[in-house]
């Protein structure tokens, strides 16, 4: 049985905003990414997952409990990073973290200290004067410190610089190795591609596709870009028996789709052509989803 089960959830805000018949299931130990443009309904789904919003129809269960009616019970298992971070009244980051630990009934702050150090956060700074990145880091520490089994994060890397983002991905991979279940939203494809096992694409409140990142990485349909030395060579190549996804006459370039089983024949044919270069155009999640849009 999946740890998180979202079953045809609809939350209609009118004007095509909200979630419509969303169904997803996330297994224990899985890292699940949730991608979509701004306003696609990512946050709405996460709020329902957290029990802040009640679905119009459909159900969400976390560990077998209803996300709306058993919200408080579920929170024992969940660490959460809100999409828009606003801290309660507390003088410093440390004070806030201690306050939050109190509410969570957490006594041991060693994991909090570990994450703090890893993110190079100075939590003694004044909470109100923190930069966006520092606030984000503080929020990350607050979500991770209980060492919860499930992490629900709404765009957790906003405001982090690339170095810190790498650090964060590192921590995520550690958590994953420990068997945590992670549900995160993002508008950045590379990020989810690097960390997630499965990625769902949401558009206008509907799930368009759910894709395994492993499948993307091990894609057997490759695309190569070739540039021929002369226009004659270019014209001659077009007559060969290959599938072309794009032809650029003026540059003597062609994009060729080659399945891995056909690579030998492709290489053999190429030996008869003088070319300027050949590159593989990497297949990515972004590319995959772009085709669906």
């Amino acid at each position: 049985m999946p740890l998180i089960e979202i079953n045809s959830v609809t939350k209609d805000y009118g004007d095509g905003r909200g979630n419509f018949d969303v169904s997803l299931s996330i297994e224990r130990g899985e890292v699940f990414g949730f991608v979509g443009t701004n306003g696609a309904g990512k946050t709405t789904l996460i709020r329902q997952l957290m029990g802040f919003l009640q679905p119009d129809s459909g159900t969400i269960t976390v560990n077998g409990q209803d996300a709306w009616s058993d919200a408080a019970e579920i929170k024992k298992l969940v660490g959460y990073i809100p999409g828009e971070i606003a801290f309660p009244d507390a003088p410093t980051g440390t004070a806030f973290l201690r306050q939050q630990a109190e509410l969570l009934g957490l006594r041991d702050m060693s994991y909090a200290d570990y994450v703090t150090e890893k993110l190079q956060l100075d939590p003694t700074a004044n909470l109100k004067r923190m930069s966006k990145g520092m606030k984000q880091k503080t929020a990350i520490v607050a979500a991770f410190m209980t060492d919860a089994d499930i992490l629900i994060m709404d765009e957790p890397t906003t405001g982090l610089d690339p170095l810190m983002r790498a650090e964060f991905v590192d921590i995520l991979n550690d958590e994953k190795a420990k068997g945590k279940t992670i549900f995160m939203s993002s508008h950045m494809f590379e990020e989810v591609e690097d960390t997630c096992d499965h990625v769902a694409l949401i558009k206008d409140g509907r799930i368009i596709a759910v894709k395994s990142t492993l499948e993307i990485k091990h894609n057997e349909d490759k695309v190569y870009k070739l540039e021929f030395r002369t226009h004659e060579d270019y014209r001659r190549f077009l007559a060969e028996d290959f599938e072309h996804s794009e032809q650029r006459d003026s540059q003597n370039q062609v994009l060729v789709n080659v399945h891995d089983t056909d690579i030998d024949r492709f290489m053999n044919v190429l030996t008869y052509y003088p070319i300027n270069f050949i590159t593989e155009i990497k297949y990515s999640l972004e590319k995959y989803f772009k085709t669906l849009y």
Binding site: R47, M50, G51, F52, L53, Q54, A71, A72, E73, K75, K76, V78, Y80, P82, E84, I85, A86, F87, P88, D89, A90, Q99, Q100, E102, L103, L104, G105, A142
Partner: protein, 482 residues
């Protein structure tokens, strides 16, 4: 329903606002109590009442209420400043506790813990209620301390200066003298000492003593009859018809029943007569006062508060006596020399002044007559009103996700109530506004003058509880944009 941890955190981020408002309120009520001077207020009231036309416009009970410390507190602090300050505090706090945290998004951190929504919001309600309660507790304690420090109104029965002086002179203890004022009345030396201690003339003091004794006699009679002293004062024939009352009252004055009965008969006959004359006399006295004020070159109003000034200045007294002409010209025999008429009028005016001064002394004593029970009821009522108003603000704080919407109704309605209440007091044409205001249910005047207030208190309490409970329920079931 309640989380200690959240309560502690809420307290930590809200105590400053509470402390500021509580300090201001306690200081204000203490100030109002400390500066209370029954003598001055009595003088002002007499002045207002004596102005033709004015007395009709003002509610009689309002004037009489204000001469006692509690009546005055009820009209000033508990009718206006205290309520307004409490209102602002309650509105601000109720909004901060829920709506503003949802609006900012920081509520997400409270709700991403394993604490149920009802407990989170229930704790906030509890904070609001206990902050209002503790605010009025502090105000009450500070108020009682001020009453004790400034007026000795609470305990260690404070004997008046004259009783102390007379007791020292007579070499008996103060309690004995206080219980039997005839000890002073019947001893010329004690009268001299008492008058000196009070800082008044001997003739004023004698009138004061007699008046005081008469009051005590009424009290004794009322006790014997088992009725309120006000009933006896309004209708002395009650005493006349009861042998027990007669002897009890007579004993206070050191008279036997028969003598007292005779005195009482005279009094009853006199009061029937003077009722007709009162209006006329009042007008004459005001004329005299105005003339004297001109001579002394001060405001008649100021002079009314301190009629002793006329006594001290023969020219002023003369002018006042002539202007007032208290004794009708026809009552003098034909051909009485003007000097004799003047002298008689002067004597009459002087006796009016003396009576007035003695009266001032009496109200000075009465002003300190402070009922702790009424004071506590006043504070309880103010608390209940704030409790109910807090319920309104809290409900809207729970209903709305945006601070501005929560404030629009959560502050707008209580402020409207306050304004309607003020409007309803301005004049009788706007009186019906009181039905539009919750504030009407807390009527300080009803408490100090022993009217009905218990049903109103009950309505406030029930309404408050309903509002808080509704707020909690709404918050539990609503969608939160966190």
């Amino acid at each position: 329903m309640f989380s200690k941890t959240i309560f502690k955190q809420t307290l930590r981020s809200n105590w400053k606002l509470w402390a500021i408002f509580t300090a201001i309120m306690a200081a204000m009520s203490a100030l109002v109590i400390a500066v209370f001077d029954p003598k001055m207020i009595q003088g002002m009231m007499d002045m207002i009442k004596s102005m033709p036309g004015v007395a009709d416009m003002i509610d009689e009970s309002m004037l009489s209420g204000a001469t006692s410390l509690l009546g005055m507190l009820g009209q000033s602090f508990y009718g206006m400043q205290g309520i307004l300050l409490g209102l602002i505090f309650v509105i601000m706090t109720a909004n901060t506790l829920v709506a503003s945290q949802v609006d900012r998004g920081s509520m997400a951190y409270l709700l991403s813990t394993p604490i149920k929504r009802t407990r989170v919001v229930g704790t906030q309600a509890l904070y609001l209620i206990s902050s209002i309660l503790s605010m009025f507790l502090v105000v009450t304690i500070v108020g009682l301390s001020t009453v004790q420090l400034a007026h000795h109104g609470l305990w260690g029965t404070e004997y008046t200066a004259d009783v102390k002086a007379a007791a020292a002179l007579l070499e008996v203890d103060e309690e004995t003298v206080d219980e039997d004022l005839t000890l002073i009345r019947d001893n010329p030396q004690a009268i001299t000492a008492g008058a000196e201690a009070r800082g008044v003339d001997q003739d004023v003091y004698t009138i004061y003593l007699n008046q005081k004794l008469a009051n005590n006699a009424y009290q004794a009679a009322a006790d014997a009859l088992g009725v309120d002293v006000a009933a006896v004062t309004a209708d002395p024939t009650l005493i006349r018809n009861s042998p027990e009352a007669l002897s009890a009252a007579g004993a206070v004055l050191g008279l036997d029943s028969t003598t007292y009965a005779t005195q009482l008969d005279q009094l009853i006959a006199q009061s029937a007569l003077s009722a007709d004359h009162a209006q006329e006399m009042q007008g004459k006295v005001v004329a005299g006062l105005t003339a004297a004020a001109e001579v002394l070159d001060i405001e008649p109003g100021d002079l009314a508060q301190d009629m002793g000034k006329i006594k001290a200045n023969p020219a002023a007294l003369g002018a006042a006596a002539d202007a007032a002409a208290l004794i009708p010209a026809e009552s003098f025999p034909e051909g009485t020399p003007p000097a004799a008429v003047h002298q008689a009028n002067e004597a009459a005016f002087l006796s009016i002044i003396n009576a007035q001064l003695a009266n001032d002394e009496i109200s000075l004593d009465n002003g300190l007559d402070f009922s702790v029970k009424d004071y506590l009821l006043l504070n309880l009522g103010a608390f209940l009103l704030m409790f109910a108003i807090g319920g309104i603000s809290f409900l809207f704080s729970c209903v709305f996700n945006l601070s501005k919407n929560s404030l629009a109704l959560g502050a707008g309605i209580p402020v409207a109530f306050f304004i309607f209440q003020i409007m309803s007091q301005v004049g009788s044409s706007l009186e019906s506004f009181k039905y539009l205001s919750l504030n009407t249910l807390f009527d300080p005047n009803a408490i100090t003058s022993h009217g009905t207030f218990v049903p109103q208190f009950a309505i406030l309490a029930v309404l408050g509880i309903t509002l808080y409970a509704t707020g909690i329920k709404v918050f539990k079931e609503k969608d939160l944009p966190l």
